[in-house]
Structure formats: structure tokens, C-alpha cells
């Protein structure tokens, strides 16, 4: 690893030695000292520019002459500098956030940020401010729900935070929190994401041929970066909402040199629901009925230490801890009735259980501007995700024959990783990115423990099913070059990976190609292609509601997922740069997909999860259109996706292709975030999409009762039969179209660096009933007396107004 890193560094330095002079530096927020990711550094006279990387660093080869540079970032006052003001090639720029009413430089300088200026396709970024400004369900601004409003991305079930990108399942998106992979990014059974929007600096989604520095997933990369923490001032901000309260504190440890940011969030659903549950249980107790006591909670903590020992060095330490706990207990007293008089016998049946899941991640990152043209980042990451479900039963408690039983199911995945990334402004139109990474995965795909005792018989039971942990080692080397050749810009990348688990080794050669040709000013034709491999699978539950019971499993003997994608399209922007647009068509293939066999689930008792699964393939194609308009007062976008995605498994639906459950033919989202005045912001988000694909029964029929497991019984042709359901085409029916309108108004009691505000958000303002789950409801015809079952969709969220209060001091 070390030799490889040194080799790469030598290669990088050698490659850059002969190139032209370079200006490099860091772009920061002038008020907080935090780095600005994705800021544009643009030389209008040369029509050449650079964009700051994830650490706010840029390198821009320039002629020796003095060149005017415009440094810009949306929401900040653009700044003009001369290249000859750099000291030893270093030019750090601090941008000041704009305040309303100021005369500001518009974004026409941000040439390097325009979509037509980069060969990268399918890339969309949101700032933490965008996320905060969107209408929020129950007052909770949510990163993943904001991303769901982008083209090519759709949500799973109503209200949940899963990402289905270009027909891929949620596991096909690599979710990174400050560079550390997150395996479950949801709270509250998927209703919220684990990202505390207050702590988020920037969210970048790259679909399709994502850069070669990323890997291990088929579809896309969601790179979430936390704020660095204010280097200049101490600051506390927070929010009190219906669902949770959150607080963020940040400030300098050594002014200008080191800062610490700590944020925390905890729900108080139990506080709100507790009195209602207590009252219901009091009534149940009075009537000797079962009392049920559920509880649900989540929390998350983020901490980030940012230390700048010198202008060229930075050290970051990020830690995330988050968890959810759901528990329930039900107490059912046994009732004895004599001559119509009923009373409790004192014997009770108690059932209970819990579902806990959570992640602990950490990353230690050291970055250094090794030279004006070479920037390096060394990162160590650790990630631990666990899921634990327990069900207990205490039948006949206080009685003569109590029977206790407990079943517990655990699964998890633990990663340790190290990676080295180098950015090299090599000159002659080349911008290189090189690196290597090594990661160790330990999977615990699931162990089911069954404990029990029948007191009457004195029979204890103690059984554990499930295989032990499985280790996997993943090694990666990559190189990525952005090469500008006049009107043609090429993105050439190669990601070489090998995943080893037990005796199996799965190597992969993954080229990433992208090209952009300027057809005319502010209009480019773009194309890209990529091959990707994914050594981990997410086995999703049948209900598909993003439960944490979704199980991460390694490639093992079932092999990895492999995919390919080609895309082509047009991208452009208006003269001012305030409006950008893109149209992209894509075709994806996926192989080695894993799904549960019909009738199987994570809770099926087995010693090996691989017995429960089948492998298959998928295909997806679509067309995405995106128009975005950004000024300091207004952010608005419209996204439309026309898509079709199918799956095929030999052992499912007779091996025929069938629509993916989340195939959505049409998907439109529109967002408007506007500052109406110094005191009032408004936001509107509207979504419309084709309904989910579901499988519905076609008929019921009589069949031989096979579960008897007795051949003579099978062949006797007895009158007794099992009633079975014959289903129609797999996912061949559509639920009603999905539509939602969310509104938000924020009234600022004070703006500026320490704002106070009150927000009124209305989720699903049109009270559309979007089905979360479908059920059968038995109804009797009043005239005929005939009983029938009606398929009904149960929506989770009617119109939901919420108030929240934000503060800062």
C-alpha cells in the first residue's frame, strides 16, 4: 500500500514537472473559515477554470502573465483576483456570504461550474442551505428527500428516504459521509435520513459514469460533506420541531487554526405519544383487555475536528454515531368467565420485542498541498453498522405452566479502510486524479438465536442458526484524467479493483469514459460510458419499505454485481450562467443482482443466507431533463425523467423479464425556493410520478397440500386441499399515480449570521392519498350480503402541517 502510494506520488510529480506554472490555493468562507467545495476559479480571458475539490483546494495551470481570475460560489459575493498576486504559486481566497440588498456579482463568472464545461454527466449538487430551505415533513429538513427531487432519482415507498437511482436499488448508490461509506442512512424505518441537515455543507450526487476515484457500487455516488466548523467565532444553533430537537455548536479551538463542530439530534416522539398511549392502556386495563406499550426513538451525533497546522496542511477527524430503537410490549391478561361474570385470573401472556439499528463511523483525514500542482489526501475510515431484532414471549406468566421463548436476529457489517488520493494539475490541459484504497469488510449476514423453556416439561431450547462472520478484502487503484483539447474535453478514468473473500477473488477492470464537445458557446454535446462492479448486495425485504431488516451480504459464492452504462446528452447554460440545463439519455445493464426466493425472507430459519437467494439481471433506460435557475434570491428547478427498468431472475416468474417494483415511467419534480423579503422565505416542492408496480392475484385455486412432505399424501388425491393464489404478471399492475405538493414559509425574526426563525411547513398540502402499503379490506354488500375483499392503499401521511423554531446565538 505504502509502496503503491509512493509510486503514485512519484508518477504524479514526474508528470507535472514539465508543465506550465500553476496557481493553487483554497477557497474558504470569509466568516467561518470553512472550505467551500465546488467553488469556481475561472479565467475569463482564457476560458479556463477549475473547481475546488472536497477540501476546498484548486490548482489551475496558467501562463506566466498576470491573468484576471474570478472566484465565485453561489450565495457568496464573487471576488476578482490577479494570478500574479499568488505567493509561491499559492492563492487562497476567502469569499463573503451575500446579504440581501447587496449589489452582488452574478454567477456569469462561474464558467468552470457550468454543466457544459465539464465532461462529467449526471452530476447534481445541493448545498446545505438548499436542503434547509426545502419544505420539510414534520419540520425535518432531510438530505435524502432533497436528493429525491433530482432527475433520475426516485423515492421508494411514500415518505421513506431510500434512493432509487436510474432504476437501481438503494444499495447501488454509494453513500459517503465525509468519505466514509454508510450502509444504512435512515432513521424511523426510513422516514428520515441520518444526516443532520444543520451539519451538512454540500451534497453531490453523481449518476452513471461516476469518477474513477469512486467504486464498489453500480449506479451512483452520493457524497455528503459535513461543515468544517467555524474557525473564527463560537456559535450555537438549533431547531425545535415536532419530531426532534437538534443542536449544533461550533467554534475555534485555536482561532484561525483549529475548530470543532458538534451536532446532535434526538427525537421526542415518545414524549408526544406517551400520554395518548398511557390513556389507551388505562382504558384497556379497566376492561381487562390487552395493553400495548410501543416506543420509538432515534438520535444522531456528528463531530468534526478541523485543524490547520499550516496553510498547506489540514487534519480532519469526523465521527458519526446514530441509532434507532423500536420496542413494544403487550400484556394480555387471561380472563375467566363463570355464569357470565368475567374476571382476570392473574395469569398473563406477555409478548414483547425490539428492533435496534445504528451506525458508528469515523474518518481521519490528512490533506496537504504537496506543491502548487499536487494535492494529496490520506484517509483512514471505519464503519460499523448493526441490526438487531428480538421477539420474546412469556405465555402463562404467574400460572402453572409458563412457557418462555425468545428469538433474536442479528446482522451487521464492519469496515476498516485506508485510501490515498492525489490531485495533480499536470498542465497541457491535463488534470489528474490518482489514488489507491484498501478496505476490509466483515459481514455478519445474520444469526438467528432461539431460546426457550417449557416450565411444565422442563425442556430448554437453545438453537443458533446462521453462518459466522465473513471477511472480505477490497483493493483499489485508480487514475482519472480530465483532458482539455480545445472544444473537446475528455474524462478518462480507470478503476481497478479486486475483492477477495475466502477462496474467491473477484477482480474488475472498470473503465470510465466521458467526453464533452462544445458545439457553440454555452452548449455542449456530452457522452459517457462506465463499467462498475459491486462486491456487496443488499437483500431487501418483500415489503420493500426500507426497513433496516434489509440485509447487507457479501459477494461470496453468489458473486458480485456487475454493471455497464452508456449515456449521451446535451448541456448548456444561459449567458448569465444563472440558468443551466441538461438532457441526458442512458442505458444501463446490471448482472448478478440478488433477490430472495419467493416465500423467503431474512427471518427464514437457515444456516446460510445464500440458500434463500436467487441471482438475476436488470436493465434500465431513460431520458432525464433538468433545468435549474439560481440567483441569490431564487433557486428553482424542474426535473423530468422518462424511464423503464426491468428485472429477470431464472427462478422467479418463469425467468421472464418483469418491471422493477420501483419502475416509474414518468417522474416530474419542481422546486422553488425564494427569498421574498428580508424576513420571509417561501418554498414549494411538487412531485408527480407513475404509480408503483405491484403484483396482484389473478385467482385462487385448489392445490395438493405439499407441506405435508408425504409422498403418499401427495398422490392419494384426497378432498383436502390447500387454497393457493395464482398471481398475475409480476409487477404487472400499477398503483395510482404518486403526487405531492409541499409548501413552506419561514419567517425570520432575525437574519444574518445568528438567525432566528419560525417555519410553517405543509407536507402533502393537497392531501393526496399516496399508498404506503396495500391491504385487503373485507366488505359486505348491503343488498346481496356478499362479502368481498377490496384492495385498498393505505397512505401514511395526509396533509401534515408542522411548526418549527430555529435559533442561533
Amino acid at each position: 500500500m505504502v509502496r503503491l502510494a509512493v509510486g503514485l506520488a512519484v508518477l504524479a510529480v514526474a508528470a507535472g514537472a514539465s508543465a506550465q506554472p500553476v496557481v493553487s490555493g483554497t477557497v474558504t468562507d470569509a466568516e467561518t473559515g470553512g472550505v467551500l467545495i465546488g467553488a469556481a476559479v475561472y479565467a475569463p480571458a482564457l476560458d479556463r477554470g477549475a473547481v475546488t475539490n472536497a477540501y476546498g483546494h484548486f490548482s489551475l495551470p496558467l501562463p506566466a502573465d498576470s491573468v484576471r481570475l474570478v472566484v465565485s460560489y453561489v450565495g457568496y459575493r464573487a471576488q476578482e483576483v490577479r494570478s500574479d498576486s499568488a505567493v509561491d504559486g499559492r492563492l487562497d481566497v476567502a469569499l463573503r456570504p451575500v446579504d440581501l440588498g447587496e449589489v452582488v456579482v452574478e454567477a456569469d463568472a462561474a464558467g468552470a461550474r457550468r454543466p457544459e464545461s465539464t465532461p462529467q454527466m449526471g452530476e447534481v449538487a445541493l448545498s446545505g442551505r438548499d436542503v434547509q430551505a426545502l419544505p420539510a415533513a414534520l419540520g425535518e429538513a432531510d438530505v435524502l428527500k432533497a436528493v429525491q427531487l433530482l432527475p433520475g432519482v426516485r423515492a421508494g415507498q411514500e415518505g421513506t428516504a431510500g434512493l432509487y437511482v436510474r432504476g437501481g436499488s438503494p444499495d447501488q448508490t454509494l453513500v459517503l459521509l465525509d468519505g466514509t461509506p454508510l450502509y444504512n442512512a435512515s432513521h424511523l424505518f426510513g422516514f428520515l435520513s441520518t444526516f443532520n441537515a444543520d451539519a451538512v455543507s454540500r451534497v453531490e450526487l453523481t449518476k452513471g459514469a461516476y469518477p474513477a476515484r469512486f467504486g464498489g457500487r453500480l449506479a451512483s455516488v452520493l457524497d455528503v460533506r459535513l461543515r468544517d466548523g467555524d474557525l473564527e467565532r463560537h456559535r450555537v444553533q438549533g431547531q425545535v420541531g415536532l419530531l426532534s430537537t437538534k443542536v449544533l455548536a461550533e467554534g475555534p479551538i485555536v482561532p484561525g487554526r483549529a475548530s470543532l463542530l458538534v451536532s446532535g439530534r434526538r427525537t421526542h416522539i415518545n414524549l408526544l405519544a406517551g400520554p395518548f398511549i398511557d390513556r389507551a392502556n388505562e382504558r384497556a386495563a379497566q376492561r381487562d383487555e390487552a395493553q400495548i406499550d410501543p416506543s420509538l426513538s432515534f438520535y444522531d451525533l456528528n463531530a468534526k475536528l478541523n485543524w490547520r497546522p499550516s496553510d498547506r496542511d489540514r487534519l480532519y477527524l469526523s465521527v458519526y454515531r446514530g441509532g434507532d430503537a423500536f420496542a413494544f410490549s403487550a400484556l394480555d391478561p387471561e380472563i375467566d368467565c363463570v355464569d357470565g361474570a368475567c374476571s382476570a385470573t392473574g395469569v398473563e401472556n406477555v409478548t414483547g420485542g425490539g428492533l435496534d439499528w445504528g451506525s458508528l463511523t469515523g474518518s481521519l483525514r490528512y490533506t496537504r498541498a504537496l506543491s502548487p500542482r499536487l494535492f494529496g489526501a490520506l484517509t483512514l475510515t471505519a464503519s460499523d453498522y448493526g441490526f438487531d431484532v428480538e421477539v420474546t414471549s412469556d405465555e402463562g406468566r404467574n400460572g402453572p405452566s409458563p412457557v418462555t421463548a425468545a428469538a433474536r436476529y442479528r446482522s451487521g457489517i464492519r469496515d476498516l479502510g485506508a485510501r490515498l488520493d492525489l490531485d495533480l494539475a499536470a498542465g497541457r490541459g491535463h488534470t489528474l486524479r490518482l489514488g489507491a484504497a484498501l478496505a476490509h469488510h466483515r459481514f455478519t449476514p445474520g444469526a438467528l438465536s432461539i431460546l426457550g423453556e417449557d416450565a411444565a416439561d422442563g425442556v430448554p431450547a437453545d438453537t443458533t442458526l446462521g453462518s459466522g462472520p465473513t471477511d472480505g478484502l477490497e483493493a483499489v487503484v485508480y487514475a482519472d484524467d480530465t483532458w482539455r483539447l480545445g472544444p473537446l474535453t475528455l474524462g478518462l478514468g480507470l478503476h481497478l479493483a479486486a475483492y477477495a473473500t475466502g477462496p474467491a477473488v473477484y477482480p474488475s477492470v472498470e473503465p470510465r469514459l466521458a467526453a464533452s464537445v462544445a458545439l457553440r458557446p454555452r452548449l455542449a454535446l456530452k457522452a459517457s460510458a462506465a463499467v462498475t462492479q459491486q462486491p456487496v448486495h443488499l437483500l431487501t425485504t418483500g415489503a420493500g419499505i426500507g426497513l433496516p431488516a434489509d440485509l447487507w451480504v457479501p459477494a461470496d459464492s453468489v458473486g458480485p454485481e456487475r454493471g455497464g452504462q452508456v449515456a449521451a446528452g446535451l448541456a448548456g447554460s444561459s449567458r448569465s450562467g444563472r440558468t443551466t440545463w441538461s438532457v441526458e439519455g442512458y442505458v444501463r445493464t446490471m448482472d448478478g443482482l440478488v433477490a430472495y426466493r419467493d416465500g423467503a425472507a431474512f427471518s427464514t430459519p437457515t444456516d446460510d443466507w445464500q440458500e434463500l437467494v436467487v441471482t438475476g439481471e436488470g436493465r434500465s433506460r431513460g431520458l432525464e431533463a433538468f433545468v435549474e435557475h439560481r440567483t441569490d434570491r431564487l433557486t428553482a428547478w424542474v426535473a423530468y425523467t422518462l424511464a423503464k427498468t426491468d428485472r429477470r431472475f431464472d427462478a422467479i416468474a418463469d425467468g421472464a423479464w418483469f418491471p422493477y417494483r420501483y419502475d416509474r415511467r414518468h417522474d416530474v419534480s419542481a422546486v422553488v425556493l425564494a427569498r421574498l423579503s428580508r424576513r420571509v422565505d417561501v418554498s414549494v416542492a411538487a412531485v408527480y410520478g407513475t404509480g408503483d408496480a405491484v403484483t396482484l392475484p389473478a385467482a385462487t385455486y385448489d392445490a395438493t397440500f405439499l407441506s405435508s412432505g408425504s409422498i403418499p399424501y401427495w398422490t392419494q388425491s384426497v378432498p383436502h386441499a390447500a387454497s393457493e393464489v395464482a398471481y398475475g404478471p409480476r409487477n404487472g399492475h400499477r398503483l395510482p399515480a404518486y403526487a405531492r405538493l409541499d409548501l413552506g414559509v419561514t419567517v425570520y425574526l432575525a437574519r444574518g449570521p445568528r438567525p432566528h426563525s419560525v417555519s410553517l411547513d405543509v407536507y402533502n398540502a393537497l392531501n393526496r392519498k399516496n399508498p404506503f402499503v396495500t391491504l385487503l379490506d373485507e366488505r359486505t354488500d348491503a343488498e346481496t350480503g356478499e362479502a368481498r375483499q377490496q384492495l385498498v392503499g393505505i397512505s401514511l401521511f395526509p396533509v401534515l402541517p408542522s411548526l418549527s423554531y430555529r435559533f442561533a446565538f
Binding site: D598, R678, A787
Partner: protein, 352 residues
């Protein structure tokens, strides 16, 4: 570059108030219907013939015909394993290699929804009242089906489209077995199964035991009394065994170490002879067990094997499982027609 000026503050309050009022109005327009359910239209239902049969090599074909049901109608027969009506007012023809072999004979039977009553202690007679009669007849062939037969069942019921099912009766498995007695009294069976070349063969393994007497409850004056009756020839009952064989352990779907029935494919031993070692207790659970054990290896058709796999993966009320979409092979209708061929090796007990 462009300059953007700040908006005027005059009249802003009124504008903002208007917008907030607009929002409130929108909420009002949303209406008061806060119910959470929405009726969803379902596809129209079309009834079809249901054919149900598991043909056994060496035995005549037996087929039951019934009519499918609307999946959204509430089933008056109830749920679970219950007696179901079948019809004999149609026609079932058996074809071998496309040539008609025979038309199966309709045998009319009557089943009852409920039976009440019992032994009258005063008279010593069984007095039962049966209610809710319904037709539960069967179609039966005359000639036994043979291993290797390629059969087609063509079925007709009045008012419904004709339906047919094709099935290939498997060859009987080639099995040899030996038994050894272990020091603890248990018996170990080495079962050697020779698989024909070509993947896709599917097997089931079970053991049965024999008993030669039964206790019968007879109705007499004064009430029921138990009597031990000797059988003319031993009867068999299903038993269980244990094994550490990986193929069998993988295929077993029963919790614990006792296996009553295990299915497995030939993936791991295609075209070869594979020995399976199983162990069983000296005698079974029946009161009059003779000690005789019969090892049964059954070759079965794919749809039977797949359906068994799926139904045994499916747990009752498992909220996480995919709906079990069981394989059907009746074209133009519904149902499943499978076939089996069984080879038995008997190990005598006391007294042979």
C-alpha cells in the same frame, strides 16, 4: 455583471400576509377527508378449470377438477387445509406422446361440511349427523402410468375454456441401501443413489416404519372402549431420521435435527452415485411398531419440487416475505399436475 437591488419594504407586510392567507386557503381546499385508505381498482377476474394431481409411477392417474375462485371473493369453505369441492361433470383425457390413451372415469363422491354426534352409550351405536353435502368426486384412470411416460391431461368443464397439463413421469431412482446397527441401538443406513446424467433431477428422501396392530375405539353399550386389533398386513407411518450429510442438511426445511422429509437436486452429484448416510432410532413412536424401516427415495417433477421449496420457505404471516408465487403448469386454467416415482428399500424388524 449585473446589479440586483433590494426590494422596497413598503407594502411588504400586506403581500406576505396575503401569501400566508393563500397558504391557509389551500389547506382549507385540501378538505377534511383525513382518512388514510384509498380503494384501488383491480383487474377483472376470469374463472378457469383447476386440475390437481400428483401422478405416481405404477399407479393409475387420479385427477381432481374444480373451478378457480375470484381472489377478492371471501371463500365460504374457509381457509387452510379443508375439504374442497371438485367436479365430475366434465371430461379428462390422458394422452401419451400425443396419442390418446384413455378417458378417465368420473367417480362421484359426496363430502360434508360438518359432522356432529358420536357414540350413543345407551344403544351402543354411532349416531352421526352430516350436514352441508357437496360433490368431491375424482377422475381415475384404469392403466397405471409408467416411469418415463410423457403424458398430457386434457380437461374440460362445462362453461369454461379447456385446459391441459403436460408432465413427464420420472424414472424410478436407482437406489441401494444397507443398514448397520450402532452400539447405542440406533440404525445407520447407507443409501446409494445413482443419478442419471444431466442436471435437473430432483429427489425426496424419507423413511417410513411399520406397525402390525392398532388400538381401535369401538362404540358399545355403556360408551366407547378400546380394543387392540391385529392388522392383516403391516401398515406404515412416516418417521424421522438424522444426518450430517451436507446435501441433506442444506435441503432440510425442518427445525432441529430430526428430518421427516428432505428434497434435494442433483447439482452436487449429477451423473454419479452418491451415498447418503442417515441414522434412525431402533423403533419408532408407534405403540405397535415392528421395527421394520422402509427407506424411500422419490424422483419428482420440477414444479412439485419448486412448489414444495417455496411453500416451506414461506412462514405463516411473515410480513417480510415476498408473496409465494407457486409454479403452475395447467395451460388455459390453473393448478399443478406433477409426477413422482418412488423406489423403496425395506429393512425388516423383529420377526422379519
Amino acid at each position: 455583471m449585473r446589479a440586483v437591488s433590494a426590494p422596497s419594504r413598503s407594502g411588504r407586510l400586506g403581500t406576505e400576509a396575503g401569501r400566508v392567507l393563500g397558504l391557509v386557503a389551500l389547506l382549507a381546499v385540501a378538505g377534511c377527508d383525513l382518512s388514510s385508505s384509498l380503494d384501488i381498482e383491480t383487474p377483472p377476474y376470469e374463472a378457469g378449470v383447476v386440475a390437481r394431481a400428483v401422478l405416481a409411477a405404477g399407479q393409475p392417474a387420479q385427477v381432481r377438477l374444480s373451478v378457480s375462485r375470484d381472489p377478492y371473493a371471501v371463500d365460504s369453505a374457509g381457509t387452510g387445509l379443508v375439504q374442497r369441492p371438485s367436479r365430475v361433470d366434465g371430461r379428462v383425457v390422458l394422452l401419451r406422446d400425443g396419442v390418446e390413451v384413455e378417458e378417465l372415469r368420473a367417480i362421484s363422491w359426496t363430502c360434508y361440511r360438518a359432522t356432529a354426534g358420536g357414540c350413543n352409550a345407551a344403544t351402543g351405536l354411532v349416531e352421526q349427523t352430516r350436514t352441508g353435502p357437496f360433490e368431491c368426486g375424482i377422475y381415475r384412470g384404469a392403466a397405471p402410468v409408467e416411469p418415463g411416460d410423457r403424458l398430457e391431461l386434457r380437461t374440460e368443464l362445462p362453461g369454461l375454456p379447456p385446459a391441459s397439463a403436460r408432465v413427464a413421469v420420472p424414472e424410478a431412482p436407482v437406489v441401494e441401501a444397507t443398514a448397520t446397527e450402532l452400539p447405542d441401538g440406533r440404525r445407520r443406513f447407507a443409501v446409494r443413489l445413482t443419478d442419471p446424467p444431466g442436471l435437473g433431477d430432483r429427489y425426496g428422501l424419507t423413511i417410513t416404519r411399520e406397525y402390525d396392530r392398532v388400538t381401535r375405539s369401538e362404540c358399545r353399550v355403556g360408551g366407547r372402549a378400546d380394543t387392540v386389533v391385529a392388522l392383516a398386513r403391516p401398515a406404515s407411518y412416516r418417521s424421522h431420521f438424522s444426518t450430517s450429510d451436507p446435501v441433506l442438511v442444506t435441503g432440510a426445511r425442518e427445525a432441529g435435527s430430526s428430518i421427516h422429509f428432505v428434497t434435494f437436486p442433483d447439482d452436487a452429484f449429477d451423473g454419479r452415485t452418491r451415498e447418503f448416510v442417515i441414522e434412525a432410532t431402533a423403533v419408532g413412536s408407534h405403540e405397535f411398531d415392528t421395527g421394520a424401516v422402509v427407506v424411500q427415495v422419490t424422483a419428482m417433477t420440477a414444479e412439485l419440487y419448486d412448489a414444495y421449496q417455496i411453500t416451506n420457505f414461506e412462514l405463516d404471516e411473515n410480513p417480510f416475505a415476498e408473496p409465494a408465487d407457486l409454479p403452475l403448469n395447467v395451460e388455459g386454467g390453473y393448478g399443478r399436475v406433477g409426477a413422482v416415482a418412488t423406489t423403496e428399500v425395506r429393512f425388516p424388524g423383529r420377526g422379519g
